[in-house]
């Protein structure tokens, strides 16, 4: 069916997720060569193999070929099927790694996706489940993906290296997405947060809260940081603590920041006070960058704009992250969509750094696999 001419070819293990996600959505096969070809331990890692297995579970009829050393991957996407799925994620990366891609795919399934993911809920590398819940879900709602079945729940918390966390995610399907016009982020009206601790003293969370508040209180009085101390089997297999902070604006923009403690046995012990203060400063950095979408969700917003109806969508972003820049290039090769990019200098206002206004016309993508009722 698909000739080699239609498949896109890339090299290297970086951006693997976005390549496979865009391949699935566009239906174009993709070939990735030279995956860690020069590395002492060449080929795909466990967490990437786990990601490919997850893609295989949520699609129907995908063809995946990996060579013996794991340095070349050929992926011919099938149809997005969805339904009830369970998946054990690798503990090398957090569930956020897998969830980010599922957030891109879930609205376009044949059957609404209901998935249980097991593994690490919070680590230092990927956006945590808490942050995605607080920022990506409201973003999807802007595109008309909503309903009571739209939820993301942390059932058990698991920290690296042991993991043992569990997350439930369910998302309704949509035939078409609404175009968005997010050009004014509004002003920050409140800051919410979640300080969590597992298998350490519950007092850790309180110490984090106090130190984070000491910095943020200089800007706004409406701050509430929940403490979450899970016990017993719900606390996973490794000790740890951390904080995620979210600033909400009057126009429904959510900017986030987070920090987690060093995994057990790696690095030096971290004081909860330092973690709280540093995380608060990271939130201030994110506010300085600004925009209507926070830096981790830039690519999700741009993807859903591309897949919208044939109408103009606009979004104001902070500086583009390297991940987003590569994503824009991929959007061009998979969907032939180029964004109009305008720099908006901030001028006299005290609103942080320069912003970028991204404009595009949607491809008029519609979810053909969705069953009509």
């Amino acid at each position: 069916m698909a000739t080699p001419a239609h498949s896109l070819s890339y090299a290297g293990s970086n951006f693997l997720r976005q390549r496979l996600v865009l391949s699935t959505l566009s239906g174009r096969p993709v070939k990735i060569r030279k995956i860690r070809a020069r590395d002492d331990d060449p080929g795909l890692r466990d967490f990437e193999a786990s990601f490919i297995r997850l893609l295989d579970k949520v699609t129907n009829g995908s063809r995946i070929e990996i060579n013996q050393t794991g340095t070349t991957l050929y992926y011919q996407p099938g149809l997005l099927y969805g339904g009830s799925v369970e998946h054990d994620c690798s503990v090398l990366r957090s569930i956020g790694y897998y969830l980010e891609s599922l957030l891109c795919l879930a609205p376009f399934m044949k059957h609404p996706l209901r998935i249980v993911l097991r593994g690490v809920t919070n680590d230092q590398v990927d956006p945590s489940v808490d942050v995605l819940k607080a920022t990506a879900l409201p973003l999807l709602k802007q595109f008309g993906i909503d309903g009571e079945s739209f939820e993301l729940k942390v059932l058990r918390r698991g920290m690296p290296p042991g993991g043992g966390g569990e997350v439930f995610f369910s998302c309704p399907v949509r035939k078409v997405l609404k175009p968005i016009q997010l050009t004014d982020p509004g002003k920050i009206k409140r800051i919410r947060g979640m300080a969590y601790s597992v298998r350490v003293s519950p007092q850790m969370a309180n110490r984090i809260v106090d130190s984070a508040r000491s910095i943020l209180n200089k800007f706004i009085p409406d701050i509430y940081i929940y403490t979450d101390h899970m016990k017993g089997v719900n606390s996973g297999k490794s000790p740890g603590f951390g904080l995620s902070l979210v600033a909400e604006t009057t126009n429904g923009t959510f900017l986030s920041a987070e920090l987690a403690s060093n995994p057990q046995g790696q690095g030096t012990a971290m004081l909860p006070e330092d973690l709280g203060r540093n995380c608060a400063k990271l939130l201030l950095e994110e506010i300085y960058r600004g925009g209507c979408v926070d830096s981790t969700n830039q690519s999700l917003a741009l993807l859903l704009m591309t897949l919208g109806q044939q109408d103009v969508s606009k979004v104001l972003l902070g500086p583009l992250s390297p991940y987003t820049i590569e994503f824009l290039r991929h959007l061009k090769s998979f969907f032939q969509i180029m964004f109009k990019i305008e720099t908006k200098p901030c001028g006299e206002e005290l609103k942080g750094g320069d912003k970028v206004l991204m404009t595009c016309v949607g491809t008029g993508f519609s979810n053909l696999s969705k069953t009509l009722k």
């Binding site: 690519s299 290039r329 720099t343």
Partner: protein
């Protein structure tokens, strides 16, 4: 001796055409200013994003060409190589953190909050 000659030459030059050559005077400063201005407005983001992509494709084709039908030139082409196998992560780490204890740094985001100054039309 040579130094003297140079000096007089330069001197005579400015004397003769002082008016006409005024624009040349602080050329390097102007260039520096223009450069900084460009840097600040992050010049052509579109070119940065999409322009580089066209180049990438060409490079890829070149690398695939074989020499003499037997050997292939193996060169780690451009900086894109070193990031090709780096960590696949959507987070955007802060490279140069601000010092948030300073009053003026704190003031730079003051108006992002409801407690800050509002525009006239709101």
């Amino acid at each position: 001796l040579r130094e003297d000659g140079d000096l007089t030459e330069a001197g005579s030059c400015t004397l003769e055409t002082s008016g006409a050559l005024r624009w040349k005077e602080d050329l390097s400063r102007k260039a520096a200013e223009a450069f900084l201005r460009q840097q600040q407005t992050t010049p052509n983001l579109r070119k940065l994003i999409y322009g580089a992509v066209a180049e990438d494709d060409e490079k890829e084709d070149d690398a695939a060409e074989e020499l003499g039908g037997l050997f292939r030139v193996s060169r780690p082409s451009r900086e894109c190589r070193h990031k090709a196998d780096s960590v696949d992560c959507s987070r955007f780490p802060v490279e140069t953190p601000h010092d948030w204890d300073l009053e003026e740094v704190m003031d730079s985001i003051r108006d992002c909050f409801v407690t800050g100054k509002w525009e006239d039309d709101k």
